[in-house]
Amino acid sequence: MSALRLPRPGYAALSRWFLAGALAALLVADLHVASLNPWADLRRLLGGLVRPDFLSVEGWSVVYTVAFAVLGVGLGAGAGFLLAIPFARSRTVRGVCAFLRAIHELFWALLLMQVFGLSATTGILAIALPYAGICAKVYSEIIDEADLSALRVLPAGTGAVSAFLYARLPDVAASFRHYTLYRFECGMRSTLVLGFIGLPTMGFHLESAFRQGRYGEAAALLLVFYALIGSRRLWVRGATLPVLALASLLALPETVGATDVGASLVRFLTHDIVPAPLRNADVLDLAALARLWAWFRPILTDQVLPGAGQTLVLAQIALVATAIGALALFPLTARRFSGRLGRPAGRLLLVVVRSTPEYMLAYVALQLLGPSMLPAILALAIHNAGIVGFLLGRHADDLAYRADAPTGLNLYAYETVPRLYGQFLAYLLYRWEIILRESAIFGILGVATLGFYVDAAISELRLDVAAVLILATALMAIGIDALSRALRRALRIDTLPTRLSAPLPGATSP
């Protein structure tokens, strides 16, 4: 470094900070392998995976998976569309949306379960609420990016609705459709994860199959799931949507557990999530406030702070592992590196990797390696590196190289990576918040991140404590999101694409 000041200090310095942060986090992370014989377990797992047992797949679980995803994403996208209209103007709407999407669907499900029991409502709302927040934001961005030239030439006095339908919607419809379909894919993954906490989707059967070592059944479930995801363009279309929605409504499972929803909702809002010292107390009572602080302080010092610390440790290691993984994987899907035959195989690999929910990867890694942070790091890094690697591969194919460009590792190190580096950082900074939220929920699997304390509080029925912890998670996610946006602006990479669904712009100019 002494001989040469690096050309764009922004990129290099930022990379070094993150690397140093991850190395520091590695020092305090618990990474030991507790399993006695991970290789034997892995062999049994792979042995089962190559012999899928399709007859054991519970048909209704497939139906429920699709139904939850269709209704959850439909409701979320619909609400998101309505929220997108005032999104740019209203600070309140933006705040509500940021809050909705800062809480992971698994946390929403844990909360909703207290009111609606293990029911379809819980599953659908757990997806719809955060998806409404994220859809509102992205739809609003799409509207902002749209070409407005047609809007300006409309005759004066054209009504707002007509103007929207004629001059705006046609331009943004394709992007909306693209993004909503992508959200549907995410929704399918979310439904799977909701099964791990008891909702009757394929995830429920996957979890028990993995736990009981029925790997043949697990493999069959996974293959059915990949087939559903892979074929989604065939069966999720404009014409099939009404049929899908109606069939999903009719197919919903019956409620297990809670019955009187109205009463439980009132109790949940006015009693359960109200901090214990304030229940039945006058809010202006100073003694009650003192008791509130006495109640809150141990939660802060014993749960929120250590949980947030571990969440950050996991997230920072996973982010850098994702970065390294993505740089290593993207050549698999880029024409210049993998060649005509290797590229489709590389793309298939990365698509399968990204279709596998990270929660499930972590669960499997946990079974193999025993409880530590290692399974969570592996799961986050594999899933996210698959996503970012796939996208970088497409950008790499878009680069215009000079006629006498080098080949192989020289091309990679001197041309491809330096040219893609801004885009690479944009994707990673964007994934940062997502990785943080995932890190928090991995606590439910036993890593001592915030989710660990949330899970414990809920199983002790201390919902007020759970609410504080979930709020802390949301604040962390919102903070990271703001920091990420500030960094992207500072590096002038905030205009580069970060949306996973967006079609790439045409060939870039050299």
Binding site: M1, A3, L4, R5, L6, P7, R8, Y11, A400, Y401, R402, A403, D404, P406, G408, L409, N410, A413, Y414, E415, P418, R419, Y421, G422, P510
Partner: protein, 222 residues
């Protein structure tokens, strides 16, 4: 007579069904200084591409767009001219910790195009003319005997352009350059080849030509 450096026979090319070169025959001998001229769209860039593809191991190329990696330093962009002649390990090391010898060698080349003070600048931060000179420096550093350039001095003024062309001629045995500046071409080339609509319409020693002789090929088509 010197042996041929490049020999194209009946070279044709088309893009999307449109023929841009119609069976061009062109032989360039070692030591020749050839200027390719003609209106834009005449097929110069295509011919340059064919020449480069004909003898890639002997050609140092200055592509039409400067084609720099904007996020890397000027040093790294010029160093790229010899990536293929160094070990991968050395190249990877150079990305982070360049060797003194390489820095000096690149600095010497940059001095020839008047950019010695920009060794450590980021390529993307330079002006268009400076970027073009970095692109030329990369080809000079490459050092292969046939220097092929597609409008290598188009973003420079005539005086700077002339100096850069003289530097190219000083170290490279054979030059094949697409140029649009008639005066520069007549001054620095020994042979002028004019293309029109994908065919060679004039091929003569520069000393036999003057601006008036070349003017018809630059008039806008009626």
């Amino acid at each position: 007579m010197a042996e041929p450096a490049i020999r194209l026979a009946g070279a044709s090319a088309s893009y999307g069904g449109r023929v841009v070169l119609h069976g061009v025959d062109l032989t360039i001998r070692r030591g020749e200084r050839v200027a390719l001229m003609g209106r834009s769209g005449a097929g110069k860039s295509t011919l340059i591409g064919l020449i480069q593809a004909h003898a890639p191991g002997e050609v140092a190329l200055v592509p039409q767009a400067a084609a720099l990696v904007r996020t890397l330093s000027v040093f790294h962009n010029v160093y790229m001219g010899r990536l293929d002649r160094r070990s991968i390990l050395h190249n990877l090391r150079t990305l982070a910790l360049p060797a003194r010898a390489d820095l000096d060698a690149v600095a010497a080349v940059l001095a020839r195009v008047g950019l010695s003070e920009h060794l450590r600048s980021k390529a993307g931060a330079l002006s268009g003319g400076q970027q073009q000179r970095v692109s030329v420096a990369r080809a000079l550093y490459n050092g292969r005997p046939i220097l092929v350039g597609d409008e290598p001095v188009s973003a420079l003024d005539r005086q700077q352009g002339g100096a850069v062309l003289a530097e190219m001629a000083r170290t490279h045995e054979t030059l094949v350059l697409a140029l649009h500046d008639v005066a520069l071409a007549l001054e620095h080339a020994g042979r002028i080849v004019v293309l029109n609509a994908g065919r060679i319409v004039l091929d003569a020693p520069a000393r036999d030509l003057d601006g008036a002789a070349l003017a018809p090929f630059y008039e806008t088509a009626a």
